[in-house]
């Protein structure tokens, strides 16, 4: 249906679905770009390397039907986007919970 844009569309969907967490619940992830970078950049690098290794060791492979075919350093573009988008969505979820639940039970 979405063809080669399918994987990228899924990533766009993740960003869209979690956007209200920032805008409505005031998660404060996009508004703290330095802190966001400090959390996401090391994860992006480490997991892109894991992906690079796993592709070379043939642990997994990607369908040419549902991906753009664009690669950077031997890693599909979609995967690089994944390692930015998914950690970001995770932070938005965590921050939304922090906003909604009092810190009473934690230190």
């Amino acid at each position: 249906m979405l063809g080669r844009a399918t994987y990228l569309a899924l990533m766009a969907g993740c960003l869209l679905v979690t956007l209200p967490l920032e805008l409505v619940l005031k998660a404060g992830v996009y508004r703290r770009p330095r802190r966001w970078l400090a959390a996401v950049l090391p994860v992006f690098l480490a997991f892109s390397f894991w992906d690079w290794l796993a592709i070379r060791r043939n642990h997994w492979s990607y369908s040419s039907t549902y991906t753009s075919g664009i690669e950077l350093l031997g890693i599909p573009l979609e995967e690089l986007v994944f390692f930015v988008v998914v950690p970001t969505c995770a932070l938005l979820t965590y921050q939304a919970v922090v906003r909604l639940l009092p810190a009473r039970a934690s230190r």
Binding site: L10, C14, R35, W36, A39, Y62, Y94, V97, A105, R107
Partner: protein
């Protein structure tokens, strides 16, 4: 035969736990808000994993995984996701305790 993804996923989980407990030490695992967030994230992970592995967009070499699958994705993916999400949140908390950050 060593199932490499199984081994890598287990190592990823172990390294993540050690990173938090020994180096970052943000108290993450004692904070109920982390576990609530992890449960919500895990639910959405199953959804995203399903879209990625059911068509499939991503295929796995059966020789490198144990075999059991959850919504099409190998169980190893849960370890991969836990490692990625937990490391991100731990680094976020760590960065938040730096001067000038709220």
């Amino acid at each position: 035969m060593i199932r490499e993804y199984t081994l890598a996923a287990a190592a990823g989980v172990a390294l993540t736990v050690l990173l938090e407990l020994l180096i970052l030490r943000t108290g993450l695992f004692r904070d109920p808000r982390y576990w609530v967030a992890l449960a919500v994230i895990a639910a959405f992970q199953l959804l995203v994993n399903g879209v990625l592995t059911c068509p499939p967009i991503v295929s796995y070499d059966p020789a490198e995984i144990l075999g059991p699958r959850i919504v099409c994705a190998p169980v190893e993916d849960l370890g991969f996701g836990f490692a990625m999400v937990t490391t991100t949140i731990a680094l976020w908390r760590r960065a938040g305790s730096a001067p000038g950050e709220r």
